[in-house]
């Protein structure tokens, strides 16, 4: 119950915030430009990549996801509403789930808007719908994991800038884990690190049209662990 009420507030907050519109607009614009370029290429050089938009997003989200989550707890702390939330008859978990689901829903809506590109593509050239679909499922989970990481950093501080900066750094490191093979000589270790990176569970599977249980488990695992830790961070405000 608490989850649903918090979710509703968060979602309406996104829809009344100019900043959230700017982020959505930026995502659509950038993916749109790259999509356009891909279309031009596909006329001449090679067939268009059906996973183009999700692949582009897998990098862009490093910078956009933290902007969507930085507010979630940092603002509540700064404005004192956290004290009121923690005296309302709801569990910390309800508050955290509500906020996470609010952010994820907003992201989902933006993601659905980029579907228009897929429709355009499909109407121009024959495309592998299954491939595109798997990439979208991947980037949807991928985004959820990033938002969960962002919400954790938002709960750590009352400064939104610090929250978004720390999440960007963390996401960048997790993203670079993909390149581990270039730095680490030992193949086993490199593979292990890669399996823990965001890209490592996306670029060669979902983005290639493969939906693998282990990748789904990875992103779901990141979400669950981060939300669990966040619940405890929020709870710790009672002791400070």
């Amino acid at each position: 119950m608490g989850t649903w009420i918090v979710l509703r507030r968060e979602l309406s907050q996104y829809f009344t915030s100019l900043f959230a519109y700017v982020i959505a607009f930026a995502i659509l614009l950038l993916t749109g430009i790259l999509f356009n370029r891909e279309l031009t290429v596909s006329m001449t050089v090679r067939p268009a990549n059906p996973a183009l938009v999700p692949s582009v997003l897998s990098f862009m989200l490093i910078f956009f996801a933290p902007l969507l989550t930085m507010r979630l707890f940092a603002e509540e702390k700064r404005e004192g509403t956290l004290e009121l939330l923690l005296t309302a008859p709801v569990q910390e978990s309800g508050i955290v789930f509500g906020k996470f689901l609010g952010a994820w829903s907003y992201y989902t809506i933006v993601l659905l808007l980029t579907f228009t590109y897929q429709f355009i593509l499909a109407s121009i050239t024959p495309t592998d719908i299954g491939h595109a679909f798997s990439a979208y499922i991947g980037i949807w989970l991928y985004g959820g994991a990033m938002l969960a990481i962002g919400i954790f950093f938002s709960a750590l501080t009352e400064n939104q800038i610090v929250a978004s900066f720390l999440s960007m750094i963390t996401l960048l490191i997790l993203w670079l884990g993909d390149q581990a093979g270039l730095l680490i000589a030992n193949i086993e270790v490199a593979r292990f690190v890669r399996n823990l990176s965001l890209q490592g569970n996306f670029s060669t599977s979902f983005a290639a049209g493969l939906v693998r249980g282990e990748d789904i488990a990875f992103f779901a695992g990141v979400i669950i662990v981060m939300l669990y830790v966040t619940i405890h961070v929020v709870e710790s405000n009672r002791w400070r």
């Binding site: 608490g2 507030r9 915030s17 404005e79 004192g80 004290e83 939330l85 923690l86 005296t87 008859p89």
Partner: protein, 310 residues
């Protein structure tokens, strides 16, 4: 409605609230009065379930705040010291959100009623960031009342607003007392005197005195003070005459007359009259000066500090 038993809160070595016990009855307004850092906010934060007590517990409408926290929280309306706001929400959206979170499924009617009550109804679609300080204060009060809680806890509801609005807030607190049990904190003594049925004076985490404001005055007044004006005598003559009366502790010049402090339980008015006429002067004025809660408070707080050798 509220029964606190040995509530204690330690921050590391500092004991912010030290075995505080008290109760608030239905329909009663109790003022928690104390200087900065006395432990008022900490006490309230424990009662509202924001932070667990280090020791002791309390019951709110019969629900233990530790064992049965959710039920206790549902019964409370809380206005924190710093008014919590969501700057980008409308007044109506904000109040409806808190109402829903506290279990009201269709809050529209409640929201309308409470906004009318705190006089923000015509501002219902304004963004909170555009409200003035005093309006935010009333918004804070509205969110505490919207779910019609049995117990209302207000942390310094009149701080930082203009005198006119202070009066309005005090009036609304008094009105609240008819339906709800109210615990509110303040460091303004006249406020406690005007608004409360009962006052708890807290200092350094201890309750140092308790009672209705009148009762407290009687209990704690060190003695009685009279203001006396004598005609036909020089200041020195009059002072000498007054000092000679048995039971008088001190005589101080105040304006054209004297402030005369006497031992508790002695009535020197008859003696003053007799002596003044016997000396051939005339008694122009004689009246009792009631010491304010302020005096009592300063007295208590300094006594408390002295006891600790501060």
């Amino acid at each position: 409605m509220i029964e606190a038993e040995g509530l204690t809160k330690r921050y590391g070595k500092l004991v912010a609230v030290d075995h505080v016990s008290f109760s608030v009855q239905p329909g009663e307004i109790v003022g928690l009065l104390g200087p900065n850092g006395a432990g008022k906010t900490t006490t309230m934060r424990m009662l509202t379930g924001f932070m667990p007590p280090s020791e002791g517990t309390a019951r709110v409408v019969g629900h233990d705040i530790i064992e049965d926290s959710m039920a206790a929280r549902r019964a409370i309306g809380y206005m924190p010291e710093r008014i919590p706001i969501y700057p980008d929400m409308t007044v109506r959206g904000y109040i409806a959100f808190w109402a829903r979170l506290r279990g009201i499924r269709r809050p529209a009617g409640h929201v309308e009623a409470v906004l009318k009550r705190v006089d923000l109804y015509d501002r219902r679609d304004t963004l909170i960031r555009q409200l003035s300080k005093g309006m935010r204060q009333r918004l804070g009060l509205a969110q505490a009342l919207v779910h019609e809680p049995e117990v209302v806890i207000l942390d310094e509801p009149t701080i930082g607003i203009d005198p006119q609005q202070v009066i309005e807030v005090r009036e609304s607190v008094r009105e609240l007392g008819r339906k709800h049990a109210v615990l509110f904190s303040t460091h303004i003594l006249t406020e406690a005197e005007q608004v409360c049925d009962r006052v708890l004076i807290i200092n350094k985490g201890h309750i140092v005195a308790e009672g209705d404001p009148g009762e407290l005055r009687q209990q704690l007044e060190p003695g009685t003070q009279l203001y006396v004006v004598i005609g036909g005598a020089s200041a020195d003559q009059a002072a000498a005459l007054l000092s000679a009366i048995p039971g008088v502790i001190s005589v101080e010049v105040q304006g054209e007359g004297f402030n005369v402090s006497t031992q508790a339980g002695t009535d020197i008015r008859g003696a003053v009259f007799a002596q003044v006429s016997a000396a051939g002067y005339s008694l122009l004025e004689i009246r009792a000066v009631a010491s304010t809660l302020e005096d009592i408070f300063l007295n208590l707080v300094s006594r408390d500090s002295q006891a600790e050798g501060v």
